[in-house]
């Protein structure tokens, strides 16, 4: 035993080497999320003439491992807002609880004007920007969908840096590369929205989910889809991709029967 009390009860440096005090975190800065752990992939959404469609698959990956296969990544906030989450699942759960407490506080008084999608987007943007400014980001990319203050379709995104933008169609993650071009083919601009029916929009988004399942290795064929209109939110969380056709693979080297 050593006569210095500082050394008591600690691993002996001569045996174990100096103790890594960053584990002890006395004066060091807090360790924040530096990378996501369990993640969800793309979220896709599109406006149509009287509402918005949003979809995300039900997979949460742990790196390349398909870890959880029934994860619901669309959250209904109230009768006119749905938020879709891509990125870290634990941060999504934190945001879910945050929205829960916000909703509870909103309903203390019998509110005539409930928070609409635009309000919620502004709120979430400020939360995300604050956390990135504290170097403690919430590792998510969110799509906020629903109706704005004038009951018009609303669709906008926020990412882990607090960057916000709005567009008639949006897709996060891999979907920004694969789904967005497909969506833009039908809905190139805000004017085109008025010509798209709910059925068309749903089919379009389902088509995107299929393409994403074909080509995004971190995706799956079970997904959630929500339609938000003035008559409320229709959220289905146990959908499966139908009419898959791998015929296109025939022509691709390495996929089909072609060997060389």
């Amino acid at each position: 035993m050593n006569h210095l009390p500082q050394a008591w009860g600690r691993p002996r440096d001569d045996v174990y080497g100096a103790y890594d005090h960053s584990h002890f975190q006395t004066q060091l800065p807090n360790q924040h999320t530096q990378s996501p752990i369990v993640t969800g992939t793309s979220v896709v959404a599109a406006k149509f003439k009287d509402g918005v469609v949003i979809a995300a698959d039900n997979l949460a990956s742990y790196g390349s491992l398909a870890r959880f296969t029934d994860v619901k990544r669309l959250r209904k906030f109230n009768d006119e807002v749905v938020v879709g989450f891509g990125g870290d699942v634990s941060d999504m759960q934190y945001l879910d609880r945050l929205l829960n407490s916000l909703d509870i506080r909103e309903n203390y008084s019998n509110n005539e004007n409930p928070l609409h999608a635009k309000n919620l987007h502004t709120y979430l943007a400020k939360v995300m920007y604050k956390r990135r400014s504290d170097f403690d980001p919430l590792w998510n990319h969110l799509l906020v969908t629903g109706l704005d203050g004038e009951k018009k379709p609303f669709l906008a995104s926020v990412d882990l840096l607090g960057t916000t933008f709005s567009s008639p169609t949006l897709a996060t993650g891999f979907g920004a590369h694969l789904a967005q071009p497909i969506l833009r083919r039908t809905i190139p601009d805000e004017d085109a929205v008025a010509n798209v029916s709910q059925e068309e929009a749903v089919k379009l988004v389902q088509e995107c989910m299929k393409v994403l399942f074909y080509r995004d290795a971190r995706s799956m064929d079970k997904y959630s889809i929500a339609v938000i209109t003035t008559s409320g939110v229709e959220l289905k969380q146990d959908e499966k991709l139908e009419n898959q056709s791998w015929a296109f693979a025939e022509r691709i080297r390495g996929y089909g029967t072609q060997v060389n």
Binding site: A60, D70, K72, Q93, Y94, R97, I104, N110
Partner: protein
Amino acid sequence: MTSIGTGYDLSNSVFSPDGRNFQVEYAVKAVENGGTAIGIRCKDGVVLALEKLVTSKLQKPDANKRISTVDRNIGIVSSGLLPDGRHFVSRARDEAASWRSLYKAPIPTSALANRMGSYAQAYTLYSSVRPFGVTAIIGGWDSEAELPVDGQVGSGPKVGAGGKKEDGKHGGPFLYMIEPSGLYWGYYGAATGKGRQVAKSELEKLNLSEGGLSLEEGVKEAARIIHVAHDDNKDKEFELEMTWISSLDGPTKGRHEEVPKELREEAERLAKKSLEPEDDDEEEEKMQE
């Protein structure tokens, strides 16, 4: 024994020689002047009702709500000093929120009643504070469904151990009343305020412990009891304020909400009708003639 002049009523935390805390008893007096508040625990929900005395014609009708929501599934109505009631509700909301942040689930009504009872009791112990001048009725519906943890994203394993006991009773309606002393009990029907004696005897007639009364009937009974308990001679004007909490498959889907205007007006119409027996007698007399 009277308290006047003995000095034992000047401070909290001082007992009189015969074991009474006069400050608490004075607080009860404050409650006895408030408008009647009642709660009814029905088989499929809870009703809270309040005789809101209108102190000025300059106040907007149907505004200035007095029955408050705590979390989503619990309501509190109180009688006595209004600001004390507001502070009480504010504390209840904080308790509910802190329960959620700890357990990621809504606070059970019993747990909230327990915490609020302790809170009220603490205000009888110290000379630096006075007891709450309110008696509060807490009504809630604890979900009968398997509730997901807040933020839960999956449905969990489909096989294996865990989960609730199959045939046990889960959730349901709950009603508690907390007095200025911090004393609280669970009730089938609770009443406080000016008309509590009349209201209590009316509540007893409903045989609530048999569990036969439905929520809709409860709403009508609550409206009637508030009208019966109201003393027309002393207080002229009042508004009936009513909230309810039903089961998940009921009208409020397990949430504490205001009773819809149409239903409340219908209940009030029936209440007023039942208070005018002369009409019925006249009709009967005519029939006999």
